[in-house]
Symmetry: C2
Subunit: 225 residues, 2 copies
Amino acid sequence: MAESMSLLWGAGSCPSWRLMLTLEEKNLQGYRQKLISFEKNEHKSQEVLEINPRGQVPTFKYGDIILNQSTGACLYLENQFKAQGTKLIPDDPAKQAMMYQRMIEGLELTEKLNWVVYYEFLVPEGERHDAALQRHRDTLTTELKLWEGYLENVAEGSYLAGPFSLADVVGFPNVAYAFRFGLSPERYPKLAKYYNLLKDRPTIKATWPPHWFESEQGFEALKDV
Amino acid sequence: MAESMSLLWGAGSCPSWRLMLTLEEKNLQGYRQKLISFEKNEHKSQEVLEINPRGQVPTFKYGDIILNQSTGACLYLENQFKAQGTKLIPDDPAKQAMMYQRMIEGLELTEKLNWVVYYEFLVPEGERHDAALQRHRDTLTTELKLWEGYLENVAEGSYLAGPFSLADVVGFPNVAYAFRFGLSPERYPKLAKYYNLLKDRPTIKATWPPHWFESEQGFEALKDV
């Protein structure tokens, strides 16, 4: 099946990571893939735009099916390959509800991280305001504290909604990204514990952004959050 | 079942509408409900915050289960009540993929609508820029043209992903909202056709924002988009 899948992805893009992680968890290795360079603006290339008019990654094809929205693609793959690899949507109603709740909340965390980390990229020079950036930082702090609470009882095998699920597929890349950009493990000990419990999971290691291996952390955008 | 459900909702909130529409489609009438006034800041009241620390609507409880993210709640309800009411996730793989793709894309449309309609609410006075608002309008125009293309072949019974589905549960409130705020049916004829095909659907009429019946359209935020 994986032979009829092809993926254009970006390194360090949370949405790309979600999809690659799901493919690993569902034992769908062996798909065609190409790393797209944001620096070279390749996400706006004809190759991407033909499949994804939004000019974003991931851009994903499975036979004639196109699924470019990572969360939608993850839900689809889980539904199509239920019996294969990790079960990513729990059957237990309470865990399933928690999974859907945290999975969609994870998209809010991604957005709030982006507003701080990429503020200068998202807002043209003449329109930047210190007060706006500070507000984004405060909003992110509030958001991260929520997640710190959600992970109060985090332990091996007990993650955002119990066993590893689509909630973690969306959630983990956010958390890895936050620490990559300097989030303090002392100030967010539960998030740090969650990060450490999952960072060596084989599927996560297999999909780790390649350039993160090459350079030390050294980013400080979230140091004081 | 519906007797153990309770909903706090806001009138004209796309997320609230999605959830109420799903409850109707799944024949889950009879839940307890309360209309929350944004003007009175009731979405930040203790009653909401106890269930939803984000202070947002919808706020939804089903027994002990809390599901405040509307898209997550809709997915959950469809999965728990598959055989009841309208089938909102198609079985056919191509239609199912399209459903997930458009459902998640619908969240992008909501966000882009909000940036134009609520710009002054979202951005404090000293930080507003005509250029920024214009950019948000351009972004929304591009987005709406995408949807106009997605609906190229819209017809009775053939909506965003074939028969009425969760793609429409997310998509229709966006479109209704756009026309409410003055979008031109002449410039977006396929969106207008989609709107007219669905606006009298019984579940949509049953969940129509009540204050929209009372006052004429008369809003012009999207007149020139």
